[in-house]
């Protein structure tokens, strides 16, 4: 399959899976204002999914739609970063996951604005505005809760400890990533790493949180080699109607 197709899946599956996770909060957030803000984030991510998976379907060229890709592939076909499929946990874990994603996402989208493929840069142009705001909000919340009460600090540190081993995957390239970089579709993953590391170090410092020393990285989500057990349960839920009533139009 082409590097472009694969790259669109890697972007679109991450926004799909993360958007789905964030949407699980609807109606249950700590205050109404946060409930509404989380829904906005989820809506942006779902909208971006439609664009990425729409482009993937177009590139694939067999007449599939974004919905076909979202609702009719099984776990081993998903190409999202593992971080995105991890469960919401408490609000702190959700916001920490969001922050760690947003910081990478914004860097990636900015680079994609210069993509050799016009369709990719057009999606990036739209998404970059949304991601900038997501980052502003998640960063402030991580700092606020890290530097809040003793309890909020402890919960945020626990969230960071749990999630940090999943950020390394964003920067580990495989042959398809290399091909996408060579074609100028996407940046070299490693080129985003220094900026990312500096940004999260500054944020965690402001949040009075400590980055884990171990740089061990779980990987395999973006390449499809493996996923966590959590993804299957999410898909069971998400894809249920399409699977139970094949071919129906909704």
């Amino acid at each position: 399959m082409s590097a472009l197709y694969e790259f669109c899946l890697r972007m679109g599956d991450s926004t799909l899976v993360l958007g789905h996770r964030v949407s699980e909060w609807c109606g249950l957030a700590p205050v109404l204002e946060e409930d509404i803000a989380l829904a906005n984030t989820a809506l942006d991510l779902i909208g971006q999914t439609q664009l990425w998976l729409g482009l993937a379907a177009e590139v694939e060229g067999s007449g599939k739609t974004a919905d076909d890709l979202a609702f009719l592939r099984d776990v081993w076909d998903f190409r999202n970063a593992l971080l995105c499929e991890l469960p919401n946990g408490d609000f702190g874990q959700t916001l920490m996951r969001q922050y760690l994603f947003d910081e990478w996402h914004l860097g990636m989208l900015k680079a994609l604005q210069g993509s050799s493929d016009d369709r990719v840069s057009a999606i990036a142009d739209k998404a970059v505005k949304e991601a900038s705001y997501h980052l502003e909000r998640s960063r402030d919340t991580v700092i606020g809760l890290g530097d809040g009460t003793e309890e909020s600090h402890a919960r945020m540190q626990a969230a960071l400890d749990y999630l940090y081993p999943y950020v390394g995957e964003f920067f580990i390239a495989d042959a398809l990533d290399d091909a996408a970089a060579k074609e100028g579709i996407a940046p070299e993953l490693n080129s985003l790493k220094a900026g990312y590391d500096a940004a999260i170090a500054a944020t965690m410092n402001a949040a009075t949180l400590t980055l884990p020393e171990s740089k061990f990285a779980h990987k395999g989500g973006r390449t499809g080699r493996t996923h966590t057990e959590h993804l299957g349960h999410m898909l069971t839920n998400m894809q249920w109607l399409q699977r139970a009533y094949p071919g129906a139009s909704w």
């Binding site: 205050v31 109404l32 204002e33 509404i36 803000a37 906005n40 909000r137 402030d140 606020g144």
Partner: protein, 94 residues
Amino acid sequence: MSKEWPLWEVFIRGQHGLSHRHVGSLHAPDAEMAVKNARDVYTRRNEGQSIWVVEARHVTASNPSDKGPMYEPSESKVYRHPTFFDIPDDAGAM
């Protein structure tokens, strides 16, 4: 029970609006979060270009019984409204 976040009044200048208008209120721990919450709550349908927030306790409202003395004098000062002045067309834009 713990303390409630303060209440903020939200003012938004819309796409074609000339000045900020009061659109409603919300709760937030501080001014920065209040601006962000205002963006999320009150500009979901593209309503806003610029947001002001003021903590509600800092708003001083006129007393309703003052309605007469507060507002009636300005009713007679029609010269404050530009259309009061009949300006010849050749005076140009003004």
